[in-house]
Amino acid sequence: MNKFLFSLFACFGQAWACFAQTDTNSINKSLQEVVVTATRNEQLLNKVPVPVTIINKQQIKDMGAVLLSQVLSEQTGLFLSSNHGTGIQMQGLESEYTLILLDGEPLIGRTAGTFDLSRIAVGNIERIEIIKGPVSSLYGSDALAGVINIITKNRAENGSTTLSGRYGSNGTYNGDINSVVLTPKSTIQSSANLLGSNGYTLGDDKTSPTIAPYHAATLQGRWQYQINNRWQSSVSGRWYNQQYKSYFTDQAGKIDDKGKEQDMNASWQLRYQQSERFTQLLRFYYSRYHTDENMWWQSSKELYDASYFTQQYFKPEYQADLKIAKSHLLTAGGGYVRETVSATRYDDQMAFNTGYLFIQDAWQPTEKWNIVLGGRYDMHNQYPSQFSPKLALSYNLSPTWRIMGSVGRGYRAPDFRQLYLHFNNAAVGYTVAGTKLATEIINDLTARGQIKRLTVDPSQLNSLNAERSWAFNVAAQGKLAENATAKVNLFYNSVSDMIDTRAIAEKTNGQYVFSYVNLQQITTCGSEVELNYSLNQWMLSGGYQYLRTKDNAIYDQVKAGKVYTTDENTKETRVLRRNEYFGLFNRSRHNANLKIAWTSRSSDWNANVRAIYRSKYGFTDENGNNVPDLKSEFVPGYLVTNLALSKQFFDKRMRVQGTVENLFNYSDYKHIPTMPGRLYTVAVSWTIQHTNQIKQ
């Protein structure tokens, strides 16, 4: 562990070696920026004692991004990872440990733990707030690595309507309409998005497309109404529908695969501002996620397989914000979550109930100190209750420099699959059993003579606990010069009771019954540096993250000389040396980005180039020693460079943009099927400013 801390500081040094950039106006502006995710209420960015990354609408537009995954992939320290959808890895923790919020409410519908970020089109996004490090103290489960809050709520002073369209390689199309209408008492926002692609097939694989053709539509709306000067109501809704058409090849022939994915949510918030000091908020949130998949033999048209999955989530929540004296802002609240799942692979409809309470004090003892202490208690009917405290503080060293530190707990609840899945793979013959059903399923299989031997006593499986972490973050932010800023962050996460699959019995057919156990302990730590520099029309920024990860049990074995490898030269088996332990799979030690933008205000041109580098990472364990060690077990490091060029016409009403993604056509489809090589897009948008409106 000391070694780890040492390497952490060593990398901190390395990170400094890198450099980066921004413009003075935007820096000053950003210090006045208001963020909501860190404390559950509006706070000035420069008062919040945790680092918050903000990606604003202009940045998203300048990139020419269509999907949330594209936007996040260019952020320092975030990696896209593909596992049943495109997720994001943060601080070395996989995508199931990051909570995704839409206007403060959790998005549901994760497959194998991944929330597919390509479900979110960015056309109506105003701002994205990213907090790294656990925020379970406010949001409960899943907020273990961090939180990404997608904010669509518009704060514009004027109404407008924007129409835009984009077309690009692989028949990718995107059409958007976004409208904000202001009346004296209301803000009405509506948006519609159509998105699709012909997909693509990489390499000479004729058995299935790499990415299947799909078409998606999103509708979203919000009506914010100021009832009187104390009461405010806000109603919003979102509906998403995606259909895809694919095929794959079985030993006996080709199979057509058609599926649909639906996602909807609705919320109603009622805010009562009793006084300057006291605000109460009542909110109701409902979300439903549904998939349907049907497969047919291409030749006979007979059904091969059909499955569905429906998840529902309902949450009422109350929150009160009370200013006490001058220096305290007390936030407290509670809520209840009811979640249900019914699916082909579950025996009945399953339900989860969680009740929770949270409390937080944001305290500013002096001008220079900001302290936030909070905690949340989650009571659950299926696994032990969780308490997640967090303490964060910041100190202003000077008017331009600030240091911050936080310590907190994060947790992630076992999901439905881990508790209730009952899946028999007919083709291969294995079985997966959720822990609550494991005993029953084993008894049933034993009675039918299908169990050869037990490898684990099934009675040990009954209680699955949540995965829990302790995390430490230390950060410094400030100005290096009038037009240069720097941010540094060191992080350390220790996660225990990680849920893993394990073979619990061998079947007579030679296959296994798998279930889930709390097993692994992992540690991730590293450092992150971001620099910004701006000069006239130029903006230069750079980011770098150094990351070390380990599986504690495996690392102990490595230290004890009990992990073996095959020597590359002699081909003989030998002990894996400690410095050869690379850490967890799918973790790159280095991640860097360099972004250069040029904006001409006089001619309305914007050009930018972004280069993102990811160093090599372990992909798969070929030789069964549980560590990435052979050369063939790694994905080589790579660099992706993206370009965008845009020009505005007619007093900024019209905008034309062209983009080139992956300029140098890097491709490694065996490891990264989601990276198809160079892509071109062109886009046109038109904005109409609404007149004769005054926002109250």
Binding site: R453, T566, E622, G624
Partner: protein, 194 residues
């Protein structure tokens, strides 16, 4: 000094011999060490999927015809990823075995206990891993077999490839069910691998 005999091609057989190794520090009555070190290449693990084990004699370093399966002429058999030994439910011999962790060369004395016979569960399990992404079977580094042969001699066996000609990185084109392994047989009946 011991001599290593390399085995090239199936029917051909080199003999190994070795003179006594130097001395054991111990005593008097230690039988003369007769340690044999062999590398066997491309032993068929039923690549044609005919349903038969390939039976192999460690002492003779050769494949034994299936017609001799009911004898103690063979010690170990291969079919797909299953490895049987001549004992228990698999044969009339006295073979027992276990899979141990460590460095093959570093094992100088065979473990005294831990050997099991083939039953409903084979004695030799968990020596390989199957990768679901690449579909490649790989011996787990550091896992090897220590066994007593059909006639009760101690031997250690390490499979280093499951593919024809033992490519460094097997892929979809590699021919599976070809056992490449090395072994040491102590013919004098002791547990010494020195």
């Amino acid at each position: 000094m011991k001599t290593t005999i390399r085995f090239a091609g199936l029917p051909v057989l080199f003999v190994l011999l070795l003179s006594a190794c130097s001395k054991k520090d111990d005593e008097n009555t230690t039988p003369k060490s007769t340690l044999v070190t062999v590398t066997a290449k491309n032993i068929d693990g039923d690549a044609a999927d005919k349903g038969h084990f390939t039976l192999f004699s460690l002492a003779d370093n050769k494949v034994i015809p299936n017609s001799d399966s009911a004898t103690t002429k063979w010690d170990i058999g291969f079919r797909s990823t299953n490895i049987i030994i001549n004992g228990g439910v698999s044969g009339p011999g006295a073979a027992t075995a276990q899979v141990v962790s460590g460095i093959f060369n570093d094992l100088l004395v065979a473990p005294e206990s831990g050997y099991v016979v083939d039953g409903t569960t084979l004695a030799i399990v968990d020596w390989y891993t199957y990768n679901r992404t690449t579909h490649i079977i790989s011996p787990v580094p550091g896992k090897y077999i220590v066994m007593r042969t059909a006639t009760g001699k101690y031997a250690k066996v390490e499979v280093f490839s499951y593919y024809k000609d033992a490519p460094t990185t097997p892929d979809g084109n590699s021919v599976a069910r070809n056992y490449n392994f090395r072994y040491q047989l102590q013919a004098n009946g002791t547990r010494d691998f020195k």
